[in-house]
Symmetry: D2
């Protein structure tokens, strides 16, 4: 299986850290890894001076390292406690597991499956889920199980509950809304903070809500955009991960905007998923730090 | 004097037309010019099918043409009347006359003066006007008269009235707000529809109103923008002429956004002024048709 | 079937003209169409003053027009002769017929098929042809006939001759090289001037020839590109139709460049095919005029 | 004086390191700074796995640090020796000193002076030097000494020798060629490796050499570009720092390309100078690592 970039998935780990800023954190983290025989492959760090917050991402080689998924937490916790860190680590022998939720529009789903098949995304996709049956053949071509869970008599909570069962059973790490047209309930979101990625077909915060291409057309903008973000309880307001834009003109009909928008949406969504899957995103105060 | 592009200002005319869509307008216009000895150099046309509106811009050579600024209206009016056209023509021996209104930030003013001096903008600039005295030296370096009209005791209407006198006396065709920080009154705007161009330092309609870079920073967007538009009575809501964006990241402070924004603002404003000066913009239903 | 933009394929015609520049051509063309009951929907025109050449594209409504594919040439030829025009017309009831030649890389093929299925490209695709069998399943998913014509014992001319038979039998209008890795012989190209579109995976004329991503990596450029062009006898030297670029950095490995390049290649190739299919391209002196 | 970004120039230092890749370098460097009371503000690192090379940039706070420009080398040398590092440090109380070499085109010079006056570039500009006298007024407006050193009877070496005297006398750190149209001799370049930045008005390696806009026009490209690079003995072949592009069409005359190119050139040159001045560039094997 082709791997993108220079990652050797089988023998590296990635550690993400957020904590109050203080002297010596980089040195302490680097020494910890070094003392355990890990070789630091990539290190990125950011300090938000307005809020006194420190963010760090390190990727380290495990070939001569005595740390394992089982032992890491215990070894790491003293340092983490000293600095009040929130952190997570991923030993990337195990690919992230993604569920894709879709409606009836195929382009974002097709694009993700395509990158998956091309080896661009180092993930497993155990489930594609929809309230419509329209995209079953797309899933079938890629050999991914497709679940059709219609919303019966408007009972969305019941449908969501079935979806959550699948997510749990399949040990899903990340949910991708690939033009899924339903607003998820606060109940659904609970426990999935910063683990559900949506694509909105506008340059947020402009044109939040419904039919953004119509809004853009009516306003006469000269650029259209797409925005991928983590889903929060406030519609189209979650932390922004990636955005893209394309020039348009008075010659573009709404159909043209939609056509051009499809290219933007799939590109921007793929970029966001890629960043998440590579453990490159930290979230604080409704904003993302994306180590790209 | 250096001329941009392939325009020979001394011997061409530009005609802008908007009217209800109908069969044969292009042929009729092209024949009219041809019959009068004009040679059609450039013709652009757009039909808004949603609203049944027709827009056209033609540029024609005058060297063997019997039309003149004095005679054009009479010759043209039968055709214009037949199609219910609103139109305007400019025989471009006479450059457009521009007044620039500024506050204390120099970058947009400097950029316009620079392009003016480099021959990029085929205009005359008879006046730079401000409610502050800060940019007088910038005007002085370019040899352009600078008028400092402070707003005394909050009486903005009085100050605006002085400005309008200058605009009238100097026979100004276009007003450019190059980071002028005052909202113009409806009284001021009267008679200046689609002849006042503003630069707003955000990707409108996102972040309208005050301090858009702070708004963008707080929202955590991944692209910042600038928008040039004609000024209408509704703040930041006029027809959009041009927009630009630039990628930003979590590493950018508000000062960084402002620095990057300066480059966007001056580029986007210059593009809008250029389009207007070349008679490339038509406005309908609060949207622009920009023949670029 | 969804149509892009505002074209109603069944009842319009598109006329492309190139001739020496002269007074009154636009008027004459517009009048011709008007006199025959056609309604001019879109007209674009360009004059190359360096070489005294005139280019025009008109699209006209046929609903009350007395011109037909059978009668057009006779009606049109006096005007065409007077101005020494080279021209072509397409009554677009009949979609253009495309053959796609591929090697083993699927992304450009998949992208074209996807847009085809989404109704973005108003074409028929009667054949996908390759010297490898690798992409047969991709063709199969889209229901398009796939022809595997291997190059046997290095006899490329023999293989090309088989391909040409398919092109003739299927009445193919346009050949798209979607990462087809063989150089076509001058014999093959004969009769296909400006009807074979290639995608080169660099920003031509930089990095012509083989392995452009390796070349780009070695040179340390900060932008990579892709170029679609018509194929001529000189490798990677034909008239350029569309180009795109993407920012890269020292962090990008060659594999990253290839991954990012795939997105560029498919986007740029699709744009070129789209422009050709909409009859928006004229070629003169190894350069294109693209009326977009 | 306004400072860009979050740098507090008076109390920080920046250290750039290149050495063979090895285990534990990041930890060792971070510990060194920490042990000396420095607070690591920003750390960026890159490993070129193809060549086994390690690159690092650290910026650290000096307020409680016992290191000084005088003492740094001695304290640092054991660690540097152990890893075979090439390195440099800058205690940024002292701004970098820049000389700008120009010909007759003002736009790049004006742009640099403008950013300098706006506080975007934290530098001193002790000299503007030219073989023409044309831009003396531009220098004068900014209050920067202007030296006119004509090339007399073709003796370029003599003229270069005078320039080098000025550079030495003014303790210049960086030379910026802002559309200086002379090729510098190998003698001149000696001792100035990676300290002379040029702007080439094309998307290198395309259109190296003379009159690139003419070359671009003749080739019919759809994008034009600009490239800033360090100057080496091979013309237009030095390590690339930054590149930008802009879309063009068949409608653009060569004059249009030049006009659009001016905007590209000044933007790209300013970006390169900015990166250099912030000590963000390392060079290896004719390629740059730009920590942006």
């Amino acid at each position: 299986m082709p791997l993108s970039g220079h990652d050797n998935e089988a023998s590296t780990a990635r550690l993400l850290i957020a904590c109050p800023d203080a002297r010596g954190i980089v040195a302490a983290v680097a020494r910890f890894i070094s003392d355990h025989g890990g070789n630091l492959l990539d290190s990125d760090q950011h300090t938000d001076r307005d809020h006194g917050e420190f963010f760090m991402r390190v990727e380290f080689d495990l070939s001569q390292c005595d740390l394992s998924p089982a032992s890491f937490a215990e070894a790491w916790s003293p340092l983490a406690a000293r600095h009040g860190m929130s952190w997570r680590v991923r030993f990337n022998g195990r690919p992230m597991r993604i569920a894709i939720l879709v409606g009836t529009l195929p382009h974002c789903l097709q694009d993700l499956l395509w990158r998956y098949q091309a080896g661009e995304l180092q993930v497993e996709i155990p489930a594609i889920i929809s309230n419509h049956d329209a995209l079953r053949p797309v899933a079938g071509h890629a050999g991914v199980p497709f679940h059709h869970f219609p919303i019966v008599r408007g009972d969305k909570l019941a449908q969501e509950s079935i979806i959550r069962e699948v997510l749990a059973r399949e040990r899903v790490d990340l949910v991708v809304l690939a033009r899924y047209m339903q607003v998820l309930s606060p109940e659904f979101l609970r426990g999935w903070e910063n683990r559900i990625i949506n694509i909105h077909h506008s340059f947020l915060p402009a044109f939040a809500g419904g039919d953004p291409y119509r809004q853009a057309y009516d306003r006469g903008v000269k650029l259209i955009g797409a925005t991928s973000h983590y889903v929060t309880e406030v519609l189209d307001d979650g932390p922004i991960i990636a955005q893209g834009v394309e020039q348009v003109s008075h010659r573009c009909s709404i159909d043209d905007l939609k056509r051009m928008g499809r290219d933007l949406e799939r590109t921007v969504l793929a970029r966001a998923v890629r960043m998440h899957v590579h453990d490159r995103i930290l979230v604080s105060k409704n904003k993302t730090v994306v180590f790209d």
